[in-house]
Symmetry: C2
Subunit: 431 residues, 2 copies
């Protein structure tokens, strides 16, 4: 049994008023057993280690609700191009060349970057997901994994079989650190029959569905032309909703679409930086929240971001809504909830995303003893509007220390960087 005590300024994300300027979090094995003021943990708790970070903010790790982790391989490979040129001449040809080993190394790099920037859980959709699962198990993070399924592609059936195999082989692995979903890519890449088949399999396996939805105007026009409906209406009619569904983007929604998402308890993964960089548009986050839709934050893949930094994503989410809805829109604490507890709820992780007894010990510490965190008027404002990845000191997932004093403990990160450099350049030079 391992017992860890972390002391500092504790922001448990259990409610806006909850903050311990001199606090502590007690951890036994993979779980938090106590959160409170310094010295409030039971005398019976004798920690193996105490991390004394008086000037750090101690908070739940970030939950990145939408990414394609292995796309680190394509970081800054192609930018500033029109969308279709970018996809057709750069991204797709590159991706077509990737091997399972490439995916493993690209995912390891992503996980290293995520840990360094305070992200402890990701929802990942890509291919060769068994390699992604292996990387998550090795790196020690939490991962909700979905094999991306292009139903209209020649390998649509094969991909679904792989998605099902992923459920069978990995769901619940690593002390529950891995959870598996099915990942039909989007309404415009999967026909209705295929989507219904995926939904049936998801129900049979008892897993959720992750899908891109209403990301661009092109998608809206395509689906309307094919079906006479919006993508959201179309998925509802097909019966895809009802179970656990995480829909990425949801930029272009009608009022009826928003009500459909709310009624069906579809969770939304909001990716503001990707939506801006690819010129997709501004998702109606304020309106979705008014309807009661659960919204988490995601970075999307590195080729459209170009990092996995949830601090930047929080800031961009706030800025984008404020730009359109006024300076009072989406206050800092609400943004923090989206990046932690609400993201975890969106992924169906019941005991992740806040610091409270019984919750998983997924914890990050942020070094506040730096010039940009003075004066200390508001911890939430500092976290959302000021902090950056370089401020993360120590990261714990499932009770284990994955990074301590900025040093990664579960991977040889420079070897990972070298492998990715070599592999990515080789792919780029191959066509």
């Amino acid at each position: 049994m391992s017992k860890l005590l972390i002391r500092g300024m504790v922001l448990p994300m259990t409610g806006e008023e909850d903050f311990f300027p001199e606090g502590e979090v007690a951890i036994e094995n993979d779980k938090i057993i106590h959160v409170g003021s310094k010295g409030s943990t039971s005398q019976d708790f004798v920690p193996d280690r105490v991390l004394e970070y008086n000037d750090d903010v101690i908070m739940p790790g970030f939950v990145n609700t939408h990414t394609h982790a292995a796309m680190t391989l394509l970081r800054s490979y192609a930018d500033d191009l029109p969308l279709m040129t970018w996809l057709q001449t750069k991204i797709w040809p590159f991706e077509a060349k990737l091997t399972d080993e490439d995916i493993y190394w690209g995912t390891m790099l992503a996980l290293g970057e995520m840990i360094r920037s305070g992200t402890t859980t990701m929802l990942d959709m890509y291919s060769f997901m068994d390699k992604v699962a292996d990387a998550v198990l090795e790196a020690g993070t939490r991962g909700v994994l979905a094999r991306g399924l292009i139903g209209n592609a020649p390998n649509g059936e094969e991909a679904l079989a792989e998605g099902i195999e992923l459920v069978n082989n990995y769901d619940g692995a690593g002390n529950g650190r891995i959870k598996v979903m099915l990942g039909p890519h989007a309404p415009y890449t999967c026909n209705g029959e295929y989507l219904q088949k995926v939904k049936k399999e998801a129900d049979r396996l008892g897993v959720g569905i992750h899908i891109h939805l209403s990301e661009t105007e092109d998608e809206i026009n395509t689906i309307r032309k094919e079906t006479g409906k919006t993508p959201v209406q179309w998925l509802e009619e097909l019966g895809v909703f009802g179970g656990h569904v995480v829909a990425a983007h949801c930029v272009h929604l009608t009022e009826e679409d928003r009500k459909i998402l709310a009624k069906n308890k579809v969770a939304v993964a909001h990716n503001p930086e990707s939506n801006m960089k690819l010129s997709s548009g501004t998702a109606p986050i304020m309106e979705l929240l008014e309807e009661g839709v659960l919204v988490g934050l995601g970075t999307d893949g590195v080729s459209s971001n170009n990092n996995l930094d949830m601090f930047g994503e929080m800031r961009s989410a706030a800025f984008l809504q404020k730009l359109h809805k006024g300076a009072a829109a989406l206050p800092a604490y609400e943004i923090l909830e989206m990046a932690t507890i609400n993201g975890a709820k969106a992924l169906g992780l019941e005991n992740v995303g806040m610091l409270a007894p019984g919750y998983k010990a997924d914890i990050i510490t942020i070094d506040f003893d730096q010039p940009h965190f003075y004066p200390r008027f508001s911890v939430p404002s500092h976290l959302v509007y000021v902090a950056h990845p370089g401020d993360v000191r120590t990261v714990v997932v499932d009770g284990k220390i994955l990074m301590e004093e900025k040093e990664l403990k579960t991977m040889d990160i420079m070897k990972v960087c070298d492998e990715v450099e070599k592999r990515a350049k080789k792919v780029a030079e191959s066509f």
Copy 2:
């Protein structure tokens, strides 16, 4: 005479094709005397010191073209409020309490944060500017300083006298590190007669003018009601343009406004994060560039940002234009030009903003040997879309090392943080 040689991946910002993967910059006293491949500096140059940063990008320091540095005192003091509530109940009452010593310490904190995040020059508009000048001289950075002038306030004339005194006492100080402008706050806080008086004084003194312009719709409506014109038309009619003018924001412009700015060679300080956070709107940067207007980037004050991070500002500038104008808008290299050479030109600094012989040695190095900078497909994309303040290693201004291996050399930064914490909290508790 001091001689310094810096080796690494040199991005001189002299043109998009110019890059030395293994390069070096030779510095004699305050100036760059050579930029080229490793070993290309004349054998006669015997450096006192060599900084070998093979995995760092060596580039010009950032030029922050609009800020109110001492507002670090108000960092995260008040956020997420409607604009007028924020100004009237929080910002203005707080600012009214600030003493000259507060301004000194607040500015020192800002300069510490700027150096740490790679900014070597700022255009600052505030009060007690002699204290700001002292801080700039002490910290070692470059500063273009303007006493903010609220012409319609009771102390309008007194402020102008202070502004003129600042020119007389500080213009050219610190081996030219300080340059002074006059700073009429905005068309809606300075009446026409006052603006003309300021312009006359600027011409007499041979200095430029820094002004907030067309920032919000409210401003447009106010000026149109008072004068029947847009703020830009109004300033042109008053004769404020013609000399060196840096206009901050320029969010709400008509086509005619843009042509007026171009014709009069008014430089624009674009502050995308402030414009988003305060819901001011999206400045028409693409259109301004098409008209040939010189555009630099600024963070604005910390109370509307809430940091002085030019990396974030570059990213937001790119994202905001792409959101509205398509994914190909404002490529990374153009953004870097805005943040360096074009910002310097906007401030009228003739030999600042690029690495070339004869230019001032204002140089930053960025540690690229980190996971988020792999693979290394594009240095400009990495700098704009990936980098953050924690990546800056070493900073040189006017040939002097202000930060080395992340350690500030010209100030006791923890003392500065403590002073600001104490002073800011005291002000906040006083009303």
